[in-house]
Amino acid sequence: MRYKKTIDGITELESTTCIKKINDSGKEWIVPVVEDNTDYIEYLEWVAEGNTIEEPA
C-alpha cells in the first residue's frame, strides 16, 4: 500500500482535503482527510511507521 498527494480538481492546487490510496495492484481510492475515516487513520499509522506520502504527479 502507498499514498500520494492529490491535486484539487477545481483549483488545480495541492489538495488539503484528500489524499490518494494505491494498493499493490494499482487500484486507487480518494481518501478524505477526516479523523474518523478508517482509511485516513490507517494512513496516519503508515506515516507514523516512518513512511512518506508521494508528491502528486
Binding site: 477545481i10 484528500c18 480518494i30 481518501v31 478524505p32 479523523e35 474518523d36 475515516n37
Partner: protein
Amino acid sequence: MSYLGRVTNKPSDIRVFDVTGSTSATHTLTWTAPNEQSLIVTINGVKQHEDAYSVSGVTLTLTSALVSTDKLEVVGINDIGTTITPAQGSVNTDQLATDAVSTVKIADDSVTDAKLANSINTDIAANTAKVTNATHTGDVTGATALTIAADAVTTAKIVDDAVTAAKLADSAYLANRNRIINGNFDVWQRGTSFASQTAEAYFADRWKVKPATGCTMTVSRQAFTIGQTDVPYEPTYFLRADITTAGSANAEIMQKIEDVRTFAGQTIAVSFWAKSTAGTQTLTCRTIQEFGSGGSANVVSGGTTAVLTSSWQKVTFSVAIASISGKTIGSGSAFSFNFYWPNSSTSNDVDLAQVQVEAGSAYTPFEYKTYGQELEACQRYYTRLTSPNPANATFGFGTAATSSRMTTQFNLPTTMRTTPTTGYGGTLSVLFGTFRNNITSSPDSQLAPQGGYVNYDVSGTPFTAYTYSGLIGANNDTSTYVEFIAEL
C-alpha cells in the same frame, strides 16, 4: 290473666308459706304474688276458693280470721311474667339449638385459627382452600403465605393490551436486538466469492476476514437448499470460510460494531449456527473493545470454544463485557465480535449462519430483517453503485471542470458513518450527448457523509466549454461500480 298470641316462656319457682297458731286474717308472704290465681290456699287441708282471700304484693288477706288451731298453707308461683337472666357462664351447649348461632352473633375478627378445623388450616397453607370456589376477583395480597406458583399465570389470565413496556426486562427488546448487521449473510455488495485472501478484507457486508501470516483463505456466499430444516426460518444464504493454504496462527472472521460503548459493562448473549465442512473443527469466539485512534488499549473478552461437526448446530453462550469506566475513546472506536479457529488445517472449514449478538444472558430467536432494512444498515458503512443490468446504467450527474474533467455529484442512499473514501472499478464513463468517454482516473473528491462531488478525468479533451454536462455510469460493463467506504 290470659295472653293473646305467643308469649315468652320464662323461668319461675314454686314457693310455700305455712302458718299455724295464728288468729289473724292478714298474713305476709315471703314473695310478691302477682294475683290470686298464682296462689293455692288451703286451711286444714281444705283448698280455699279464691273468693276467700285476696292478695296485694306480699300481703294475703283472708275473708275470715284463723282460729288458733287452723293450719294455713299457701303455695304460689314466684314472679310469674318477669324475665329471669341466666347467671354468667351458666349457658351450656345443650341450651343452644342446632344451627342457632348465626354470623351476626359472632364478633368481627373474633374467630381465631384455633377455632378452625385443622384440615381448613392445611388447605389454606397449601393454597387449595378455594379450588372449587368461584373466580377470585380481588387482589391477591397476603403478607407472606399467599403466593402464586411459578409458571402458573397463563396468557389467558392477562387482559389484552395490559402488559406495558415497563413490565418487560431491559433485555427483552423485541426489535433491534441483534447488534450484528447482516447476520443472515444476505447482503454482499462487493461480490459473493473472494478467493486467495491473504490480508484483512471485507467480503459480505460488514464482515471482514483476517487470514494469519502465511494463510490463504477463500470466503464465499453459499445457498441453503430450499426447504431444508437444519437451520430454521428458511435462510437464503450462509458463509463459508475455506482455508486453502495453512498458516501459522488463527484465521479470523469478524464484525466491528460501531462505538466501543456498545455492550460496555453488560453481559451479551451470542448465538449462531455453524458446522464444519468435514470432520470436526473447533471454533472460538472473542470480543475486542477497540477504543479507536488515540484511545485506550484494546480489551479482549471471551474465548468460548465450540466443537463443530459436519452437521449444523446452534451454538449459544454468554460473555461478560468489561466496563469502559476510566477509558479514553478515540476516533473510530468499535466493539469487535470475532470468530477464530486454527488455520493449520486446510480440510476442516467453517460454515456460519444467523449470527446474533444481543444484550442479556439469554439468547432469543434470530431477528429477521428484510433485505431492504439490512441493505440500508450496511450502506451506512459501504455503498456500491453498480450496473448489473442494464450494463450502461448511470450513477451521477456532472458538469465539466476542464476540457477533460467532469465534476460529478453523488447523492448517497444513506447517510454514511463518516466522510467516505471513494473509488471505482470496471469501465466507468461519461455520457454526454451522443458521446461516451471512459474515465481514466479520479484526482480528488469533496464528499460529506450524505454525498458530494467526485472529479473524474476522461480520455481526450471532449469538453470544449464549461457548459458541458454529462452522466457518469457504466460503459457496457456489468462489473462497473463506484464505491463509497466508511467502514470501521
